[in-house]
Symmetry: C2
Subunit: 334 residues, 2 copies
Amino acid sequence: MKRGRRVVSVVGATGLVGSEITRVLFLRKFPLERINLFSSGRSPEREVTLPVGSVPVRPFSLRAVRGSDIVFLAAGGRFSGRYARRIAATGAVVIDNSSAFRMEEDVPLVVPEVNPDDAFRHKGLIANPNCSTVQMVVALAPLHREYGLRRVIVSTYQSVSGAGLKAVGELAVHSDAALRGEEMEPREFSREISFNLIPHIGLFDGAGWTREETKLMDETRKILGDSSISVIATAVRVPVFRGHSESVHAEFSRPVDPFRARSILERAPGVAVVDDPAGGLYPTPLECAGRDGVFVGRIRRDPGSPRGLCMWVVSDNLGKGAALNAVQIAEQFI
Amino acid sequence: MKRGRRVVSVVGATGLVGSEITRVLFLRKFPLERINLFSSGRSPEREVTLPVGSVPVRPFSLRAVRGSDIVFLAAGGRFSGRYARRIAATGAVVIDNSSAFRMEEDVPLVVPEVNPDDAFRHKGLIANPNCSTVQMVVALAPLHREYGLRRVIVSTYQSVSGAGLKAVGELAVHSDAALRGEEMEPREFSREISFNLIPHIGLFDGAGWTREETKLMDETRKILGDSSISVIATAVRVPVFRGHSESVHAEFSRPVDPFRARSILERAPGVAVVDDPAGGLYPTPLECAGRDGVFVGRIRRDPGSPRGLCMWVVSDNLGKGAALNAVQIAEQFI
């Protein structure tokens, strides 16, 4: 890719992730020659106010996106499946936030703190991992390097913003209704989400796993580059607006000292250790929303095995879990 | 204990668990000769309307409770620690909902579906297990009998009603405030609970475990009667009013067939299997609140081990997790 400033396009620019990508690009002073904002075509035309002034959000077309150096796709899997390779064929590097290509062999799946080199093996298309995967691998990778990860058992606590803008509205409106004793029909979720939990994110497969769970299981192995690691996930939607949390039990090849594990995590890129039980310190999604990085607390030794470690991992699913990671991938090329 | 109708006392009768115990006694037609309601002394005198008419809630005293056949204690650990054995010395069978005596060797810790016989070894005092323990052992015990439980890794999703009446009010008031953009100081919790998660229930010990987690770990072994079982818990408070949920990974001595495990659970006492992913069926706390039993869904085989099984276990923490289990213990003596 050329040096200097870049022509960048964001498709799905009015969505939760798309607008966050744009925000993060300016926040991190990405060297922009020009920024083009596109809707996937479903939204009406509108303008967005950016630090460079008012920018129109135009309906996407292959012709309009031509000439971009980097194209961020945040318009869903169907859109990406249809257009990602065709946009890459115009010469752009496509960074796709959808799950459409993540497991394709010729598409790198990149978390810059973990497998930065994979990005440079791209053939025009780089996949941004699932939000719940990103935060888990950022916390596990440094420990994997030291102790050799064998198995992960993870239970997630995922906020509604992972399901998009309408889902955020549904939690607000339904919570308000529930507090007034009213019942509403769920629309964005399979069940009522206000003051409830839904152990069902994405479609079920024949063996009873949801798509969100298989993503966590498959993507973790691909990013860590070790298909022998066993990953077992239970993904649960919780009535939180922003920030995903994960209760992680990791089992390694070698014995783990929790104090040493903590100091490895303290030095690890992208990780902030927030772990002082005596002082009442541990991460919560409300405190981590809008902040960069992956927050790790509740680090403790498995009382039944010297090779086991528990931790509580929280991150902003729209930030590091999506937009920030995507922009960090792009930054590798400047 | 004598046959026929019983004189029953409930201490802490105006609290969430105490009032639920009274409700369940009438609902299940417990053979009452008389019911005495006591406050632990902190609440003002009041009357409660029961199917037998208006009943006063009197301040507790040893003199006033004398003559009871069964005394339910739901007034907290400090109260139980002070009075439970002294009440038992009056000749009553004390069923204590607090954690004060659960791990004492001479005090049976009973879940009637799991270890009913232990109840009859009492010396005047029987402990009712922690809410999150009850539901987990009801689901695990039948599988333990068949396959030999070796290890459990559990992450909980616990509702605020487990923290009492004021905590329920705090979730309602704070959620309403948050929806209007206002911030409030947490009082009943260590952090804001509305639209947030708190991985901290009870005090921390020196190794970084919370009391709620060690209860789950220790009580499970005691109830299942096998101290070699490894239990690793992460306990998290979630913004749900009623109903606790648990993501459970269980590892057995012998290979587990998930279809057979499901049919074992379907026949198990106190268990309702709600598990049809294709039909969108799995338990959620909102649907299980106020209902009897332990609801199990998301049953699936560990993809990395034939001896591993995942499941999602939901129950009403005030019902089976507290009041219903306590009354079922009492029913063993009629």
